[in-house]
Symmetry: C2
Subunit: 211 residues, 2 copies
């Protein structure tokens, strides 16, 4: 798009490498320890000095933001891949399930992201837009195939998804969320005329709660 035609040198190789390392380490550390995690721990894990970390990401928020962007992009790419799956409804379902897993494994990350989203609304806009597009592309395909009702917007779907993940601190939340998602996707489905409402085939209906 806009390559800087200023006579700026291209960035040094080690700088690029270090930036990458820090991002990788930050993702791991924040996932485990939440948004409060020590930046010095991040630097150590990345194998760089604390000064280097601060040069690349002057504030904690900058670092969050960078990690966040990357995660969102990754989710979007998954949607891209799923677009070539055979069954469009299943593709959508799989994507949403990945979203749950994303929330589950990131744990601390989620709180961090919430923080990041609070502080900068530009980032919020970016990610919402990105996820909406990803959802939309999967949704459209299912609708085009005549397998889903057409009156649900990607935004609605996203909101529903976030709503279902809202309980992500309760004990058995993950299986609950997955079950809700299944029900929801079933509801999105164009009902076959034969059965007014096909039973949702709840697999693992056990309300297994661990601690």
């Amino acid at each position: 798009m806009d390559d800087q035609t200023d006579q700026t040198r291209k960035p040094r190789a080690d700088a690029i490498r270090n930036r990458e390392r820090v991002l990788e380490a930050a993702k791991a550390v924040f996932s485990a320890g939440g948004p409060e995690a020590s930046l010095e721990a991040v630097a150590k894990r990345a194998g760089v000095g604390i000064g280097t970390l601060y040069r690349h990401f002057p504030t904690r928020e900058d670092l969050f933001e960078a990690v966040y962007r990357r995660e969102v992009e990754q989710l979007s790419e998954l949607a891209e891949q799923l677009k070539s799956a055979k069954d469009p409804v299943d593709a959508l379902r799989r994507w949403l399930r990945s979203g749950v897993e994303f929330v589950a494994t990131k744990k601390g990350m989620v709180a961090a992201l919430a923080l990041a989203v609070q502080s900068g609304s530009e980032l919020h806009a970016f990610s919402f837009d990105r996820l909406t597009k990803a959802t939309g592309s999967l949704l459209d395909r299912a609708v085009a195939a005549g397998e889903m009702r057409a009156d649900i917007s990607p935004e609605d779907l996203l909101r529903a998804f976030f709503g279902m993940c809202y309980i992500h601190d309760q004990p058995g939340w993950q299986s609950t969320a997955l079950r809700l998602l299944d029900v929801f996707v079933d509801g999105l489905r164009v009902q076959p005329k034969s059965s007014p409402r096909g039973p949702a085939k709840t697999k693992s209906r056990a309300t297994k709660r661990k601690r």
Copy 2:
């Protein structure tokens, strides 16, 4: 209910006083500085030593929780008072507006509360229950007076309220939220047959954005 009949001394007067002071100070400091605010600042503002603060509230979360409980109770009491107002619809509206103000003035507090709610679900249950009851009592009165539709539950109303405050980081959010609330309350109203929809009388429609 259960006064301790054990032969325990009654708590010392200074202990009670100090606990109160710390709570007061914490409310102020967290409101201004958010959940990260220094506990030492809280102690200083309360005019007690840091050790005293930690004795009363061993962890940061304990302190949050105590402040939170008290705030929720205060909101509930406001509802109690409003129940004796003449116009039941107006009472409900006023209560909701107070909720917006609550969110607005507390600013940092809100993030803190979110944290507190995350960590302990018992607290969450308590506060949700409390607020639901408060909302319900106001809602019921309006419905009983024949001025509001009867098919909205207090929970729904609360959820809608939280949804409208969700944007509480955007610049002009407060006037937006108040406007949304007005519209919503109008919508709850039993429509008089004469006018199909009374205009919502948007006062201050300026989208004043500061910063």
